[in-house]
Point group: C2
Chain length 455, copies 2
């Protein structure tokens, strides 16, 4: 059966690539309202691709925000059902000037396809669409398959929880399979055992009621930029430990065994620094790089702006300054609680000479999957089959806010079988996805279904 | 003679206003290269207006940057010569969305003309053009008049020094008269006795060689925004005293008498706060508001940016963050020395995990004018004549970088006779100039020439 899969894939691999690239051409940026019609167009394209790949039912279903695309291929009610989750929305493409080619004009260079969404997540969920086609056309389907492809992952899935709660029967399955993460490398395949939670807030600091001349008023009226920089600077201590009261209260301290496991993953600090152009790594004292991105919660400023940011100089004392700030959370931290602490913190430390408005963008809970679960084991075996190596279990640094809600509502476990790489420039200019990884994913996924059905 | 001036002005006051508004319609933003042709157009319009007002010679003279407009009316080589300095360039108009009407579409509302450049400085230098017309048409010219109207004041006059040095004979005069500042109020007229110096720098902080996913790399790679906020926050201590090593070294400590003088100016803190929408004033501990803006040097962030600043949320760990930062300097501080200290400071405190590029935008020296000088006394008497009150001598908070160079090259003193108000929104949206101030300026200037000629 594996020979049939490989033969079919090889015969159709150019088309598999072209179809995926067609999807990348749609600028489905959920954060920007100007892309509303692109979002709808993208959802429809996903639906059509599901029908073409072998789904017997596919629909664009409304939510209070952007619609969800649902598809299914039921072969036998007594067989296990795999629910594939993915998202058709992408991150904004700014800063545009740093892209070497248009973010929505995919080009292939050095065996990689460059485009926003290529790895996150269009290129990855589309592997599952094509894997369905491979299994269908070779008459080797051994599980039922459902697809839940949403359009609001990059803005925190604000409406998916309600959709899932209202459609539990429709989405009933035995395992959730997600390809929206990375592996260490093709030589060192890995499987994420969890994702971090997220609390994403925005802070607005206002000084005077209008922009002022910095000569006339500077030194006598609070500068909201200066105040904001002090507030942000106060969020970490000299060891880069987060100082927000209670931030670490609920963190489950990693055991020595867990720390040993995470540090078993191959790591070459010089190569890491070289690849990122760094003189030195940075982070919380007492932890390794993988511990910092996997085991520990973090607080990052994702954006800051205020005053004059154009060419040349302007001697202005601005009225307002802003920052977008997000925390990544680890097991047992609650996004709601941390968000409250963050909002309170920025409100409480503001001097009287300014006013502060702090508000939530979105959040999501951390999620862990047990490595002895049937789903994890099937994924591990599938990768071992096609890569020739048992994948290393690692903690993912990113967040998929909906995970904890999916488990709670559907009562099943999630398996993270990502085929991306950390170097894919997710959320950055020149996002790319290696064709090798794309094809390897399509090759590996049918084995997951096989091993899951057999288990 | 004063009756003839008043009669002529009243007869022509609508035209005086319309002509000034025509000048405001030209978007002569020196900081933005896209306005190059507007700058040239504006210089030419200024030249034409000088000829129309009674100059017997007016020329647009080249510099290494934007040209200077020179004009003169020589009545008698034995009479004293007044050199009027002004600038035809304006600050950028951003943020555009906060303007109630187009920055270059002047409108009159409640007795004020709203437009970029209305007070700074087109509306103010144009008073001198019209005052020349008034004196010329009433045959009452009693001094020679020269005009030096430059096009790079808002970017620090980088080329004017060389121009002045090369044209000492052309610019030879007995006093320099500048209307590019404000008075306390029409009820409390004042004369600036000096301007502060300026050191304006830009700081660029670079972390990784590209934008990264904040989940994958956050916590393990330095965030240039976080580092920049720490660096800026470290520039002041808890008393808002500037901490940059050596910053205050050369400051001439104000005497008790000087402090008493500056605090004699009417100041109502509640009214000050109400007008600016503030709960509290802010500044260096131990100093009053006027001391903070007049006697003391300051350090302000004029702009900051980095990461994602658009709508919604993006979980990016940016590669770069930037700030525009400027210090206002007081007598005996050297702009060059302070600039060096600022640049060194930002370089020296940068952790190894980032690289910092700090560079100068422009600078200028502080300048003080003695109140017992002939020029100051003529201005004081002129204002007393038309306002009915002796003007209060105050220290101006702003900067006119060229002042110290003008004095050095031409060997004469500068008089600051500004008719603006602090509430004119200089460098801010909705810049305005009160028509009353405009007309009062045109009325007052001929008296300056009269008293200066008589002294």
């Amino acid at each position: 059966m594996s020979n049939a899969w490989k033969a079919y894939q090889e015969q159709h691999q150019d088309r598999f690539l072209n179809e995926m690239m067609d999807l990348l051409r749609i600028p489905s940026i959920s954060a920007k309202s100007e892309h509303q019609s692109d979002m709808i167009r993208c959802a429809d394209a996903v639906k059509q691709s599901l029908l073409a790949a072998g789904c017997t039912r596919a629909e664009v279903l409304p939510t209070a925000g952007y619609p969800v695309v649902y598809g299914e291929r039921i072969i036998d009610a007594s067989k296990p059902t795999v629910l594939v989750y993915g998202h058709y929305d992408v991150q904004p493409a700014d800063p545009l000037e740093l892209w070497h080619s248009g973010p929505f004009e995919p080009v292939i260079k050095d065996g990689k396809v460059f485009a926003r969404g290529s790895a996150d997540d269009k290129g990855q969920f589309y592997m599952h669409v094509k894997a369905l086609e491979v299994m269908d056309k070779t008459n080797t389907l051994c599980t039922n398959i459902k697809f839940l492809i949403e359009g609001e992952e990059e803005v925190g899935s604000p409406n998916l929880g309600a959709f899932v709660a209202a459609n539990k029967e429709l989405l009933k399955a035995d395992v959730i399979l997600i390809s929206d993460s990375a592996m260490l490398s093709m030589e060192n395949p890995s499987l994420d055992t969890g994702v971090r939670g997220l609390s994403y807030i925005e802070v607005e600091v206002t000084g005077a009621n209008r922009d002022l001349h910095s000569g006339t008023y500077g030194g006598a009226v609070a500068n909201p930029i200066t105040i904001l920089t002090r507030m942000i600077a106060s969020c970490h201590d000299e060891n880069n430990h987060i100082t927000i009261p209670g931030f670490y209260d609920d963190v489950v301290i990693a055991t020595d065994a867990e720390r040993a496991l995470i540090n078993r993953a191959p790591y070459n600090e010089q190569a890491y620094k070289d690849e990122l152009g760094l003189n030195e790594v940075w982070g919380e004292k007492g932890y390794s790089t993988y511990e910092r991105t996997g085991l520990r919660p973090t607080l990052e400023v994702n954006g800051i702006w205020g005053g004059y940011t154009g060419e040349g100089a302007k001697t202005v004392l601005p009225s307002k300054a802003y920052a977008k700030i997000s925390a990544r959370l680890v097991p047992n931290q609650s996004s709601e609680k941390i968000t409250e602490k963050l909002l309170n913190y920025f409100q409480s430390i503001a001097p009287k000479s300014v006013t502060v408005k702090a508000s939530l963008h979105h959040g999501g809970e951390p999620y862990m999957t047990p490595i002895d679960s049937k789903g994890y084991q099937a994924a591990s075996k599938a990768i071992e089959t096609t890569f020739g190596k048992t994948p290393i279990p690692v903690r993912g640094g990113g967040s998929i806010p909906i995970c904890s809600i999916l488990e709670r509502e559907l009562g099943i476990k999630i398996v993270f079988m990502g085929f991306g790489l950390d170097s894919d420039n997710l959320h950055s200019p020149n996002e790319k996805y290696n064709l090798e990884n794309y094809y390897k994913g399509i090759e590996t996924i049918p084995y997951f279904h096989k091993y899951f059905a057999e288990a």
